[in-house]
Amino acid sequence: MTAVARRARGATSGAGRLAAALLSPTFVVLGLVVGYPLVAALRESVFREGTDLDESGFVVEGSRFVGVDNYTAIFAGESAVRFWNAFGNTTLFTVITVALEVVIGVAMALVMHHAIRWRGIVRASILVPWAVPTAVSALLWRWIFQADGVANSIIGQQILWTTEGWQAKFAVILADVWKTAPFVGLLVLAGLQIIPNDVYEAARVDGASPWRQFWRITLPLVKPALLVAVLFRVLDALRMFDLPFVLIGSRKESVETLSMVAFDEASSLRFGPAAAYATILFVYVAVTALVFVRLLGADVIGAARERARK
């Protein structure tokens, strides 16, 4: 009895050890790729580099531990204005672009799903913007939005898109929606394709209008895919950097995002404050992701979990 129990326990702990051994490479990689940069950034954010000069004009070297000073400095005085402006821009861009992308992306997916002729061409052409690197598409849009550009000749007015103001925000939003709506479209299309056709047939037999079919069948059944797409887009948009940076330029209040502030600090060699900004952005992104998964039930890795619970 005891021997059997011991053998059983030995077997489980042996299996556990084997499992740990087999998993350890993954943990090491995760630790190096995810853990180390996070910890390093956190550590960096509580130090500050010397900027004082000695009598002969040389920088006094070395960084010193400043505790949470880098964080409190963000919320004080002029940097607070800059931070909240960047926070506002980041949030505004995220909300508006993702909302537009959902509407346009769903429409694109429906077109791609129903296209019978030239199906391949329609799908490929809708995906082209997504395939263009962001910095390149930002350059393209800058060319469109320059003073003598295409945008101004189409509307027949001279709007200086890249100067401070709402027009700059509009330009960024338009360029971002153009670029990433296809991504939402692609994920939603994948969701559409697993909806069985008999559901629609049954609805048609019951006399449901196409509009009703969309609201009652398509949307609920495509919701899991759509939520994942929205989650990805939100996380992506919160980190927006290259598009406003290239399209409008750095240090422009109207479009400065949190990533741009962090970058700007880092390129001024203030790595401590830069790390603090990056950490705050990280927390913001993490909290948003959590809220999404918990409240809206975005199902990123949940399919398997669900099955396991059953």
Binding site: Y36, P37, A40, A41, R43, E44, T51, L53, D54, E55, S56, G57, F58, V59, E61, G62, S63, Q146, A147, D148, Q158, L160, T162, T163, E164, R239, F241, G249, S250, R251, K252, S259, A262, F263, A266, S267, S268, L269, F271, A274, A275, A278
Partner: protein, 429 residues
């Protein structure tokens, strides 16, 4: 993502730097004698520079290498953007890497690199003060000590449409009032033409143009001792010249989006009567292959000012020796070779970048090929440097912030200057 990478790399760099510092720093006696001060060692060296667009740098390096088989120089090309170049050099300096020996520095980086001890002091006789343009030599100094050798200089010129001024019977303007008057006269027959543009987008070019306006009105951003003095009536007069230029349409509205290239396109399309620009525009605007509408119709003059000739902002590049590079004696010899008269002449011919040796500006043969040389010499000799600050990045951003706010009407010019003064006092104390 990019930010995280930069930060983590910086952290790693910092870690290594701390380690190294704890291992091997004996003498922290302040300024004077540093172990890196001795320029010793011969052998292979590397030369970190921006893009060698003309290929002439490689040509000169090949020439050096063929006569110095044991002291080969290798070019390391850095990214095209100046910010990215600076960042790579700074990151290398922070880990005390010996990857770069010779550094091609923008004139505004001298103070930062010298104050951080990333570059070594050079012997005073590296640069013959009698032969080099004095303003260019000044940009290579930090606290009166030489840290680099001036290789390329640069000064602003007033490009003007000679055909239109001639038709109106006018001379190129020496003051802003004359410029506006000339513009009114030309507009009588050419109503569509824009008067004047410079570089007014919010970037380094705006700092250049703002400084020029302030200096040309007799003001200063910082005084000789490095104290900010930008809250002055003269500085206000300079800034106001630009602000009213925009308000009255002397400067076209869209010029607020102009960097060098946008302005050049406008000038070449015949949209501008006057254009403040660097010498590089001369060759491009003079092309007769159809890319320029103004080929043969323009000339250059010194920049105008408030009550007389204006004063340009100084541009250019200097070569310095990294404190952590090997074979510094070879590096110094190579820098001397690169700044010698034959090298500078070949550089000018190949790249049309402004040389730093005064004699080349008076060379009849060169003037034949580059007719703007005498005007450019005048421009550089009366040019003023941008503030020489260790935290130059912050200083130039403060200037851009203030100038952009004033030009776009977000702040009245006196408020913008007052705010700028306060900010500079904090940054330069």
């Amino acid at each position: 993502m990019g930010v995280r990478t930069t930060v983590s790399r910086a952290t790693a760099a910092l870690g290594v730097a701390v380690l190294l510092a704890s291992c091997g720093s004996g003498g922290d006696g302040g300024g004077g004698e540093q172990p890196g001060g001795a320029l010793e060692g011969r052998g292979e060296v590397t030369f970190a520079t921006g893009k060698d667009t003309s290929g002439n740098m490689q040509k000169l390096v090949d020439e050096w290498n063929s006569s110095h088989p044991n002291e080969q120089v290798r070019i390391i090309e850095l990214p095209e953007s100046a910010d990215a170049q600076r960042q790579q050099m700074v990151q290398n300096a922070q880990v005390k890497s010996d990857a770069y020996t010779i550094l091609n520095l923008d004139v505004v980086w001298t103070a930062e690199f010298a104050a951080n001890r990333w570059v070594v002091e050079l012997p005073a006789d590296t640069v013959d003060a009698g032969k080099f343009l004095e303003p260019a030599v000044k940009t290579a100094k930090y606290r009166d000590k030489l840290y680099a050798a001036p290789v390329y200089s640069d000064g602003g010129l007033l490009y003007y449409r000679k055909d239109l001024l001639d038709a109106a019977g006018l001379q190129p303007p020496k003051t802003w009032a004359e410029l506006t008057a000339a513009c009114q006269a030309v507009k009588a027959t050419q109503p569509a033409i824009g008067c004047y543009a410079g570089q007014f987008e919010k970037y380094e070019g705006l700092t250049v143009n703002f400084d020029e306006a302030v200096h040309s009105a007799g003001g200063d951003v910082v005084d000789a001792s490095g104290k900010p003095v930008v809250d002055s009536p003269e500085a206000k007069a300079g800034l106001d010249a630009l602000v009213t230029g925009f308000q009255q349409g002397v400067i076209p509205q869209k010029a607020i989006t102009y960097k060098e290239e946008e302005g050049r396109r406008a000038f070449q399309a015949g949209e501008l009567l006057f254009h403040r620009q660097w010498p590089y525009q001369w060759n491009l605007a003079g092309k007769t292959d159809g890319s320029s509408q103004v080929a043969g119709k323009f000339d250059v003059a010194p920049l105008p000012g408030l009550n007389g000739p204006g004063s340009s902002t100084l541009g250019g590049h200097n070569f310095a020796i990294s404190a952590f590079g090997k074979n510094k004696a070879t590096a110094l010899d190579f820098i001397k070779f690169f700044t010698s008269e034959p090298s500078q002449r070949s550089n000018l011919l190949a790249t049309s970048q402004a040389p730093t040796l005064a004699s080349l500006y008076d060379d009849a043969e060169l003037i034949k090929q580059f007719p703007y040389l005498p005007t450019l010499k005048e421009s550089i000799l009366s040019a003023k440097p941008r503030p020489q600050a260790v935290r130059y990045g912050d200083v130039t951003q403060a200037i851009q912030e203030a100038a952009y706010a004033a030009l776009t009407g977000a702040k009245p010019s006196d408020v913008a200057l007052k705010d700028l003064q306060a900010k500079l006092q904090e940054l330069l104390k």
